[in-house]
């Protein structure tokens, strides 16, 4: 089946079986390898992407269900202000160990900050508990999310002053 997909602001045409999970379309048809396969069953969050801004596990979303929704992946999230701040905070906090989970973590965190500018610990856990980090970098993930959130207030305050 032919499908037209909007990914990170660009339109792509793919020809795949209708039950192909979006994860594999991204990875193998579009060569966007940042979205990761961890479990194939919505249990680990490594494959988290945004559909119209909402975080979803792309391993359980068949391509036929994507429709006209805009897909954002880790390759595109850096061009949003929240994504850029998160990536910066991730590096400043030196979150990464093996790094395999981190694309999914950043995508979940970006969706969280989009709806909650200043999440507390409980908000962070609620939003992030579906994202496994087998290396257990959780403390730093929490810190990086808070730092990215603070950054926003920092820049907002700076803008106000200016």
């Amino acid at each position: 089946m032919r499908y037209t997909l909007k990914v990170n602001g660009r339109t792509h045409a793919v020809d795949v079986d209708s039950d192909t999970p979006l994860l594999w379309v991204l990875r193998d048809s579009l060569d966007l390898k940042g979205t990761k396969f961890g479990c194939g069953a919505a249990l680990c969050g490594a494959c988290t992407i945004h559909l119209d801004g909402a975080p979803v596990r792309s391993c359980v979303v068949p391509i036929a269900a994507v429709g006209k929704s805009a897909v954002t992946t880790i390759e595109g999230i850096g061009s949003t202000p929240i994504g850029a701040r998160l990536q910066k905070a991730w590096l400043a906090v030196d979150v990464v160990q093996c790094g395999y989970c981190q694309a999914g973590q950043i995508m979940s965190a970006a969706a969280l900050l989009a709806r909650n500018k200043a999440p507390d610990d409980a908000d962070i856990v609620a939003a992030m508990d579906g994202n496994l980090c087998r290396c257990a970098t959780y403390m730093r993930i929490r810190d990086a999310i808070k730092q990215a959130a603070k950054d926003e207030f920092g820049s907002a305050a700076a803008q106000k002053k200016a």
């Binding site: 594999w24 990761k36 680990c44 856990v125």
Partner: protein
């Protein structure tokens, strides 16, 4: 008498092809004179520098480790695979320090697999630091010396008048200076100095070592760049799945290949006869398709008739029953007998008896096993996330009947290792399937493959008696370990060393073992052996402390006694270092000085593992329904004189401790009818953020050579948690994972 074998941290499962791992241990030579570990090494990579210099890429190669470009960019190669331990940052830091360049000039690069140049290239056993601390600095110092020699020749001045800093050589009297970039071509023509002759910096002058350097690949990781094995793309590549018998060692009798071959996208479907070695190429059915999803979907229609073999009789429940029976008898093998345990137990004022047990565990690295292979005639090219590429290449060569020299292995970044990728079963599968398919093939396991075809941390059962005298001193210890193995040899990672602590500190002590036959493959999991034994030893010592009516931490210190070097791994077990980390963790955790809420307790444990000393205190509580919450962990480590990269070290300690807590709280692998029951992260659950307590970390700096961190923080975390739960509830956890029903009010 049974062979007394600690399962070595790095051993790939038994019956492995020659791995060269034994030689790794030969490299380590303990030196009592130096009060620690001395390393003898050779670095063939330096001798070949001239040859390397002929074919520079991105600059002039001074040695196999260092290239310098005219723009002063310094490229440093990291010889070992990166699995998240931060090696691609840390090894180049050691070289850069002595090369005397600024870190901002440095680019790091994964070295190719070439043991002729780089010697053993592996990630395991927390060995990278002890093995490379001195050699890699000497590599840097040698290159620096070549650059200085090039400069002073040009200026015709004595070496003593030259100094280096920030990638430049300066002639002090004249003030002239040249950058390394300008000197590299000339330096590369000079001989590499004898490593024994190069001078190393005084640690007080370190500018890179001891400073936090963020992971070199992290800027690419957070943007989703394709760094991992699973991201490999080779032109014309096909995708494969490989279905093995769910029962370990089972063979294919028949499969509906005709049906499979007709499914959309399927290019090949075939039976792989395979062998019997559980760490080699096993029997199974390969499906190769034009996309991984189509191969995986086709597997859903696969019907295989298996000859399941003898292992189908085995189960976790059966092992537990057999262990309980064996535990009633005398051990089949005696490992150690000090004093007279029977008499001492008889004469003891108080005897404590307990049985401990822990389950099989999987590694569950987040990146599933995968490998991409391309076989062309007698040549093979492999892209693999592996901790241990060299034995993998040997395995591929032997299985495909090819010469190792014709096999190239590219080491990709690994999405976690934890010991799983020391075995290369998935590598040989990919190579075989690619050969039959006649095209480049990427083999990707799904999570069920990963959890059901692992090399498991072996389960174990311990039957213990401890005797206390009237003053509450530990005078007798009897331990019968029911484990797995054959012919008097423990299965991989299923051993108990005769010198394991508290041996040497209890006058009457016996260790014995009985072995059950096992058809399930076992292997090293982060802190192999210790990740299970620490739970048993350090929990039972805590039981005895409570029985003696003593503060557990004080009891531990009393038992450790005076500072002394007891037999043990590396230079031996230094009771003084163990005391020091315990005393420090008492201080930083506020042990004995804080009042805690109801059903909340502190637990303490320490362990000497992989040359590192860690003492940990856990604060945990149990709700009325038994639900466990870990509130905080304090950890104190002693890994010698230098923390090379503090940010990475902290991350590693926190990760290791939380890994241990996750195992204790959540994890077990269950064998039923010779196969694994758990099939995904719902059945086998790594720790999640909601369970991740803050971990406060302190290091003691001691006058010992630096050692590794991948493993030592993990073992004490489990008994510290269980001991905390005893303090909180009065219930003793003697079996893992923790059953919260036992903690209900």
């Amino acid at each position: 008498m049974m062979q007394d074998r600690i399962s070595p941290a790095l051993s790939v499962p038994s019956a492995a092809p020659p791995t060269g791992l034994a030689s790794r241990r030969d490299v380590l030579k303990a030196s009592a004179a130096a009060g620690g570990l001395l390393l003898s090494f050779s670095l063939p990579g330096l001798a070949k520098a001239a040859a390397m210099a002929q074919a520079p890429e991105g600059g002039t190669a001074l040695t196999a480790y260092v290239r310098i470009a005219p723009d002063d960019t310094v490229t440093i190669l990291s010889k070992n695979p990166e699995i998240g331990q931060g090696i691609k940052t840390m090894l180049p830091m050691l070289i850069a320090e002595e090369l005397d360049v600024d870190w901002s000039q440095v680019r790091t690069e994964q070295a190719p697999l070439d043991p002729a140049l780089y010697e053993r290239q592996f990630a395991g056993g927390s060995m990278a630091t002890p093995l490379n601390w001195e050699p890699m600095r000497k590599v840097g110092a040698a290159a620096r010396q070549m650059l200085v020699a090039a400069a002073r020749r040009g200026w015709d001045v004595p070496e003593s008048e030259c100094e280096t800093a920030s990638g430049r050589v300066r002639h002090l009297p004249s003030g002239r200076s040249l950058s390394y970039g300008a000197l590299a071509a000339q330096a590369a023509t000079l001989p590499v100095p004898d490593l024994d002759s190069v001078k190393l910096k005084d640690p007080r002058d370190f500018k890179i070592i001891g400073h936090s350097i963020p992971g070199v690949d992290s800027p690419l990781v957070v943007k989703g760049h394709p760094l991992f094995g699973i991201d490999t793309v080779v032109p014309g590549m096909l995708y494969a799945v490989f279905q093995k018998c769910p029962v370990f060692g089972g063979k294919v009798v028949d499969a509906n290949l005709d049906v499979i071959r007709k499914l959309p996208g399927v290019r090949h479907a075939f039976v792989v006869k395979g062998g019997t070695a559980l760490n080699g190429l096993l029997p199974g059915v390969a499906i190769v398709a034009d996309s991984w999803w189509r191969a995986e979907k086709a597997r859903g229609k696969l019907a295989v008739t298996w000859d399941e073999g003898a292992t189908r009789q085995q189960s976790s429940a059966g092992f537990a029953r057999e262990a309980a029976e064996l535990g009633k008898k005398a051990p089949a093998h005696r490992l150690r007998d000090d004093g007279n345990v029977a008499a001492a137990l008889k004469g003891a004022a108080r005897v404590v008896e307990a049985a401990y047990a822990y389950p099989f565990l999987a590694h569950a690295a987040l990146e599933p096993m995968n490998c991409t292979a391309h076989v062309r005639g007698d040549k093979v090219e492999i892209w693999a996330p592996t901790q241990n590429p060299e034995p993998g290449r040997t395995l591929v060569a032997q299985t495909l009947g090819l010469d190792e020299k014709n096999i190239t292995v590219h080491m990709t970044r690994c999405g976690g290792g934890f010991g799983r990728r020391l075995a290369n079963d998935y590598m040989v599968e990919a190579a075989w399937v690619a050969k039959v398919a006649g095209a480049p093939v990427k083999l990707v396991w799904n999570r069920t493959d990963d959890l059901q075809h692992d090399f498991y941390r072996p389960a174990g059962w311990h039957f213990l008696k401890g005797g206390l005298d009237a003053e509450g001193r530990l005078v007798a210890w009897q331990q019968h370990f029911v484990s797995f193995g054959e012919n008097g040899n423990f299965a991989s990672s299923a051993g108990l060393a005769s010198d394991a602590y508290p041996a040497g500190r209890v006058p009457n002590l016996s260790y014995g073992a009985s072995l059950m036959q096992l058809g399930v493959p076992t292997g090293p999991l982060r802190a192999p052996g210790d990740n299970a034994l620490a739970f048993v030893f350090q929990s039972f010592i805590d039981e005895l402390a409570h029985a003696a009516g003593k503060d557990p931490l004080k009891f531990q210190l009393e038992l450790l006694g005076q500072s002394e070097l007891l037999p043990g791994r590396g230079a031996g077990f230094d009771t003084g270092r163990a005391r020091a980390v315990l005393e420090k963790v008492r201080e930083v955790s506020g042990w004995g000085t804080r009042s805690l809420p109801a059903r909340t307790g502190l637990g303490v444990a320490f362990y000497y593992s992989h040359l590192g000393y860690f003492a940990e205190v856990v604060e945990a509580s149990a709700a009325a329904d038994g639900q466990v919450t870990v509130h905080k962990v304090w950890a104190v480590g002693d890994i010698g004189s230098q923390i090379i990269n503090p940010t990475a070290a902290l991350n590693m300690v926190q990760g290791g401790i939380l890994d241990g807590l996750g195992a204790a709280l959540n994890q077990k692998i269950t064998i039923e009818k010779g196969r694994v029951v758990e099939a995904n992260f719902d059945g086998f659950a790594p720790l999640r953020m909601s369970q991740a307590a803050p971990v406060e970390v302190h290091f003691l700096t001691t006058n010992h050579p630096p050692t590794g961190l991948g493993e030592p923080p993990l073992p004490p975390s489990i008994p510290a948690l269980c001991n905390a739960l005893f303090a909180a509830t009065g219930r003793r956890i003697r079996e893992l994972p923790i059953d919260s029903a036992l903690l209900k009010t």
